[in-house]
Amino acid sequence: MAETKKNYQIPEEDIFLSGHAACPGCGEALAVRYVVNTMGEDTIAVVPPSCIAIISGPQPYSSMKIPVYQTTLEASAASAAGIKRALIRQGKGDTNVLALAGDGGTYDIGFQALSGAAERNEDIVYVCLDNEGYMNTGAQKSGASPHLVYTAFTPGGKPTTKKNIPEIMASHGIPYVATATTGFPDDLARKVAKARDMKGGLRFIVVLTPCLAGWGVKDNEGVKVSRLAVDTGLWPLYEVENGVKYTINRGPQGIPVSEYLKTQGRYKHLTPEMIEQIQRETDEAWELLQARASCVAEVAGAAR
């Protein structure tokens, strides 16, 4: 299993600028930095209503030195596809088109447009900044909110589990699907660069981005929480190419999920039994991911 480097230099273009409107310590701003600074200057971004729209800046200001089109909540993938189709006609097909959407705009209301764009294999990079709920409107439940979590819409704890969006997207057979998180910025930047350089087809990266206010996390603990999500096995880092080629970058490091859960106010209502249940589900999901990865590799190998 690949260990991410402790000392690293991430090559960045100066696209995302200081003075943006994110909260101090915001995980999403950190993600946006590595995403757009890696995508580079020859990029047009599409942003739906979300924290990213706020971070992008109010007219006439912009926190990004690239054109940003703000679309409606459900339309990111279709809007990005429209730009790409026009660029192709203008002979500028090499210009990157990047959708930067939240989890509500991806798992929920934007999913139809995203699935359609994936089926058409539109030549875009779609990055979902997943903070596990509608954080911009005050921490309501989305399809990305985890099992038993407190949100404004599930004050007693969410009764259902989080959608498995990387697997759903991988099932479309698109060239690239990856998970990432802000606590492993070198891994994130590498995946963005890989997606950027693939060219052709829909490349999808879902980035777990802790929301300090929405999750009840201390201002200086966003990165720690992000790393714990990976190291407890709740958010394995992996890649899927063409729906079949799995690469698991980093899985659980033997740390119980309770270490992750206790860092966050949104889980403070959990009973020991509930924590046990989350541990069980996490273990099962990890087993399933490994089984799926090896099974798919076997079938793909047999087909060759």
Partner: protein, 398 residues
């Protein structure tokens, strides 16, 4: 996508020349679109619009049309993609009807706000529930507040010609435009249609080349949050552009008539209104029937005319006042219905006459709602009814 596009067949020069063809109304639209050389076309099927975009897919395969075709998974995505493609700086087209138009509704406002000159063909069809497939203009009329130019046509030839005019007008004022014709009566009716030559359309319609666009060289953005003052200024600016539309359409129609030999009166057409005691007012396919009714009544010595409205948004108040001045009575025959308000044209017409010295009386008849047939004899009957009664403010079910 261009990556999988097969090599284009060479287009027979004869196909680029003016052609006389037997076409359904919808296919006439497709040929009009082809001549406008759109770069991105988003499509999604819905009865009775589908033949428009099916024909476009065929024309793409045959090489007569060359565009990026996006087979969207919904009308909402089709319109979303049209907006951004247009904002990126290319000419775009899409088509829809009824429920599909309603799914687009959010993006219709978004499009006009983004000042993108999309041209969209709409085939008027009843709205659910309950389900129906019948000609009824309520679908497009209910989009009257979305900031789209709306032009209504009565034949395939008029639809083809108006698509070309619509691009010309939309790209001058940077507002999107709907060209609407009715289900089946126009959409599926075969008629001989003249498809103008590519050379002539190219001379009429200059390439679309907006100065503001999504471009990594320009780095301009669109859609960021704005303050109240900026929003006010934005809408005021839109209004100023909207108000230029009647003049632009009038000029576009006149230039079209001079170049192609076919014109439609611009924003409206008066038919046999000389010394009229009463005029039928309508739009769309019912105007074709109304001409027959007018001819019959004129032959019987009755002074009856027709005012056909082409431009519904913006409503050409000045031209309408001028057209109806001196006509004592107007009878609006509607194929649409707004619950609680009656016929759309009836409402609009009454408001347009406000402040006019000695305005005509206005009768509003909900004659063709749901696509029921309103024959020429029925129109004669309704005209006689109007002549025999005093008008009321409400639209009447007849």
């Amino acid at each position: 996508m261009s990556a999988v596009k097969t090599e284009r067949p060479t287009v027979d020069p004869e196909l680029l020349a003016e052609r006389r063809m037997l076409l359904k109304g919808n296919h006439a639209v497709s040929y009009g679109v082809m001549r406008c050389r759109p770069e991105v076309i988003a499509m999604y099927p819905i009865t009775p619009q589908t033949p428009i975009v099916e024909k476009i897919a065929d024309l793409q395969l045959s090489g007569e049309l060359d565009a990026e075709i996006m087979t969207a998974e919904s009308e909402h995505s089709a319109m979303s993609a049209c907006i951004t493609a247009s904002l990126t700086g290319v000419r775009v087209f899409t088509a829809t009807a009824s429920q599909g138009l309603f799914l687009m509704h959010e993006m219709l406002h978004y499009a006009s706000g983004a000042r993108v000159p999309i041209v969209m063909a709409c085939v008027n069809r009843t709205l659910g529930s309950p389900w129906g497939f019948w000609p009824d203009q309520t679908d497009t009329l209910a989009q009257r507040d979305t900031g789209w130019i709306q032009i209504y046509t009565e034949s395939g030839q008029e639809s083809l010609d108006t698509i070309i005019m619509a691009y010309k007008v939309a790209e001058q004022c940077l507002l999107p435009a709907i060209v609407a014709h009715e289900a089946f009566y126009v959409s599926h009716a075969l008629e001989p249609v003249t498809v103008p030559s590519q050379e002539n359309v190219d001379a009429y319609l200059p390439p679309f080349n907006p100065i503001h666009r999504l471009d990594t060289g320009l780095k301009e953005s669109w859609g960021n949050v704005i303050n109240q003052e900026m929003f006010y200024r934005h809408r005021k600016d839109m209004d100023a552009s909207m108000m230029t539309v009647p003049g632009l359409l009038q000029a576009a129609d006149e230039e079209y008539a001079a170049r192609f030999g076919r014109g439609y009166g611009g924003v409206l057409e008066k038919y046999r209104c000389e010394d009229a005691d009463i005029a039928i007012v309508g739009f769309g396919a019912m105007c074709g029937t109304a001409r027959e009714a007018v001819d019959k009544m004129r032959a019987a010595g009755e002074k009856v005319g027709l005012v056909k409205i082409r431009l519904y948004r913006p409503f050409p108040i000045g031209a309408v006042q001028e057209a109806v001045a001196g006509i004592p009575r107007l009878v609006v025959m509607e194929r649409n219905y707004s619950p609680g308000a009656g016929g759309f044209l009836h409402q609009e017409l009454k408001a347009a006459l406000y402040g006019m010295a000695d305005p005509p009386l206005v009768h509003g008849y909900l004659a063709g709602v749901g696509g029921v047939n309103v024959s020429d004899d029925r129109m004669v009957e309704l005209t006689h009814k109007a002549l025999a009664e005093q008008p009321v403010p409400e639209s009447i079910w007849v």
